[in-house]
């Protein structure tokens, strides 16, 4: 807690943490948006979410090795992950869509272990990042630094989110997805091919994660085994914001980014991961305690 004094002496540092947190939080929100989509439409909690994010990062990393600018690589990451998502849906998810939730959790957990170990075999466990070649802004007499790449990533995340929202609202496929989310049986009766909708939804989620992963590798680092942290972050954001609440997702994503940055600074970097996972436990227990007083349970 030595850093607490530093924050009190020089409050401008908290400005730094705040800005970094807000910017990185928008990427968390993007991944969480995908999770909420799959959860809402298919009633599946996708534990492999984080691995999709990291895999998207690796696609960008590989393309950057061949000299492509990481921002231009984002569509390729998304496309690769879209195909992978379709594949995973056809092989595994299609068989568990109507089964009970624990089976889907365990099966996607298996996918997550599989992907993370495959990445470990191919890319080794080294930490990787991609240079975007963008500069830094200095604010408040050079006390606060803002990486332009983080601002760019935040903007891209918000734009992707907005495009998705418009897509779901107006396009024919988007309407089918929303109809299936409301009532899959009724949608089937009205002639919507729900199997196709599920496949599209799952693949779309994977593509969103792929884009988020590209942003992660530009602004931060990736490593095969940190995927689960992204899954847990997405999950936390979704349970705080609720399903189908886009602004809630963005707000709680940014809140999580800020909280995490402050915690990492105050507790020390070695406890940052521990903080994320402990926060999950605390949030769940707190929410169920609040509901318990109204004689309800978290469903």
């Amino acid at each position: 807690m030595d850093n607490l004094e530093l924050l009190i002496v020089a409050p401008v540092f908290s400005m730094q943490l705040l800005i970094d947190g807000l910017l990185v939080g928008s990427i968390f929100a993007l991944a969480a948006y995908g999770m909420a989509l799959v959860w809402g439409v298919m009633n599946i909690i996708n534990i492999a979410q984080g691995e999709f994010v990291i895999l998207g990062g690796y696609v960008t990393f590989v393309l950057a090795q061949y000299g492509m600018h990481p921002v231009l690589a984002i569509p390729f990451s998304a496309l690769t992950l879209y195909v992978l998502g379709l594949l995973v849906y056809r092989i595994v998810i299609v068989r568990i869509v109507d089964r009970d939730l624990f089976i889907s959790i365990l099966a996607t957990f298996g996918i997550s272990i599989l992907l993370q170990q495959v990445m470990n075999q191919i890319f080794t466990a080294d930490v990787q990042t991609v240079e975007s070649g963008l500069g830094t802004w200095f604010l408040f007499d050079d006390m606060v630094t803002v990486n332009q790449v983080k601002v760019l990533a935040c903007l891209i995340a918000l734009v992707v989110g907005a495009v998705l929202m418009v897509f779901l609202k107006t396009s024919r496929t988007g309407q089918a997805i929303r109809a299936t989310a409301q009532n899959a049986r009724a949608a089937r009766i009205l002639g919507i091919d729900t199997d196709k909708v599920y496949a599209t939804t799952y693949a779309l989620n994977a593509a969103i994660c792929g884009a988020a992963g590209s942003l992660v590798v530009m602004t931060w680092v990736i490593q095969p085994f940190i995927g689960l942290a992204y899954t847990v972050r997405s999950f936390m954001i979704v349970i705080i914001a609720g399903l189908g609440n886009v602004f809630g997702v963005v707000a709680s994503g940014m809140m999580l980014g800020v909280t995490e940055n402050f915690a990492g600074f105050l507790l020390g970097a070695e406890f940052q991961t521990a903080f994320i996972f402990s926060l999950l436990v605390v949030i769940l227990v707190w929410r169920s305690w609040r509901l318990r007083r109204k004689r309800q349970v978290l469903r």
């Binding site: 624990f102 957990f109 169920s288």
Partner: protein
């Protein structure tokens, strides 16, 4: 009747004689017993009560650390421990056993109390929320243990060397320890499942709200079930630390990626919600793993992921479920062959 006794006799002789017959793999056999304990204790919550936990490994790790820390602090000062890091020796048999017994007793107390405290908050969660919450709990525990210097932080903790000259070979010692643990766990659990406890937790699995409405103290039974898991896992963890000799926070103690997943997988493979299922699942999984794992050269964890998917998607009823559907008579179900659709009458 005599048939039955022969069956049990063969099983007992096999269990007692296995390490003598196959001394080269006695540590593996000890691990097999540990795996059976894992699967059995997971099944209390996961199979019988319908609360699928990914976090039971927490009690295993806490038990391991508590035992090791007590053993360390009873016989060594901090400086001594620093200077001979990696090669703790010079404990005689009595001291070792005293340390181990006190350590295990303390770890039981700590783990059961911890289970009660955690349970008060976490066991109110239902279904998938519970599963994900416990998943977070397991990883948080590993990360926190990796940051505390008193228990060796990320570089791990060395347990006292086993005094071979006083207590004989440590492979035999721990094999029989884990054998007794697995057998006691099996007997205690099958006794519990037969009684009120079993009925209550099965009622919770089937419909928790109805069970509560019928007057079952669901929270009390849920906490009890978790405490029983914690009790056996504390005993398993404390001894496992001594068998391995070195405690790494995320690879040995809170090994969510290996033991934590395996215990779920073994119980499901065998057939959750039965008493023999976890035992069979653990045996099949462990033997399979020992036979094939070494030939996979680093791809074994990839194979583990594929195996989880395969078992969960294609074989969720497990071996016991398969046998029950195929040959119901074997498990004591009566089949009425007279009626057109032969229905299983329990």
């Amino acid at each position: 009747m005599i048939h039955r006794y022969i069956k049990w006799g063969v099983l007992i002789v096999l269990a007692l004689g296995a390490p003598v017959l196959m001394p080269a793999i006695k540590t593996q056999l000890a691990m097999l017993m540990l795996m059976i304990t894992f699967a059995l204790t997971w099944d209390i919550m996961g199979g019988q009560m319908g609360y699928n936990s990914f976090g039971n490994i927490v009690f295993f790790g806490v038990g391991m650390y508590v035992t090791a820390v007590i053993q360390r602090d009873m016989f060594f000062t901090a400086e001594e421990y620093e200077t001979m890091a990696g090669a703790l020796g010079a404990i005689d048999g009595t001291d070792y056993l005293t340390g181990l017994v006190i350590g295990l007793a303390a770890s039981i107390v700590v783990c059961v109390v911890l289970a009660a405290i955690l349970g008060a908050g976490i066991l109110k969660l239902r279904g998938h929320y519970f599963a994900i919450c416990t998943l977070g709990l397991g990883i948080a525990a590993a990360e926190i243990a990796g940051g505390i210097d008193y228990i060796g932080a990320g570089s791990g903790l060395v347990t006292p060397t086993f005094p071979n000259e006083y207590l004989g070979d440590r492979g035999y010692f721990f094999y029989y320890y884990f054998l007794v643990l697995a057998v006691v766990a099996f007997l205690v659990l099958s006794w519990l499942y037969r009684g009120q406890f079993g009925l209550a937790i099965n009622a919770i699995r089937d419909d928790e709200d109805k069970a509560e409405a019928m007057g079952i103290h669901t929270t009390r039974y849920k906490t009890m079930a978790w405490c029983i898991s914690a009790f056996f896992l504390a005993l398993a963890g404390g001894a496992m630390g001594n068998l391995v000799g070195f405690i790494d926070p995320s690879e040995v103690a809170f090994a969510g990626a290996t033991y934590g997943v395996w215990m779920v997988l073994m119980a499901i493979l065998g057939g959750k919600g039965t008493i023999w299922g976890p035992v069979i699942g653990a045996a099949v999984f462990h033997i399979m793993q020992e036979l094939f794992w070494t030939y996979l050269f680093g791809w074994q964890r990839v194979a583990l992921g594929a195996l989880i998917i395969a078992i969960v998607v294609f074989f969720p009823e497990g071996i016991m479920g398969f046998v029950r559907a195929r040959w119901p008579e074997l498990l004591g179900h009566k089949v009425d062959h007279q009626t057109p659709e032969s229905r299983i009458v329990p």
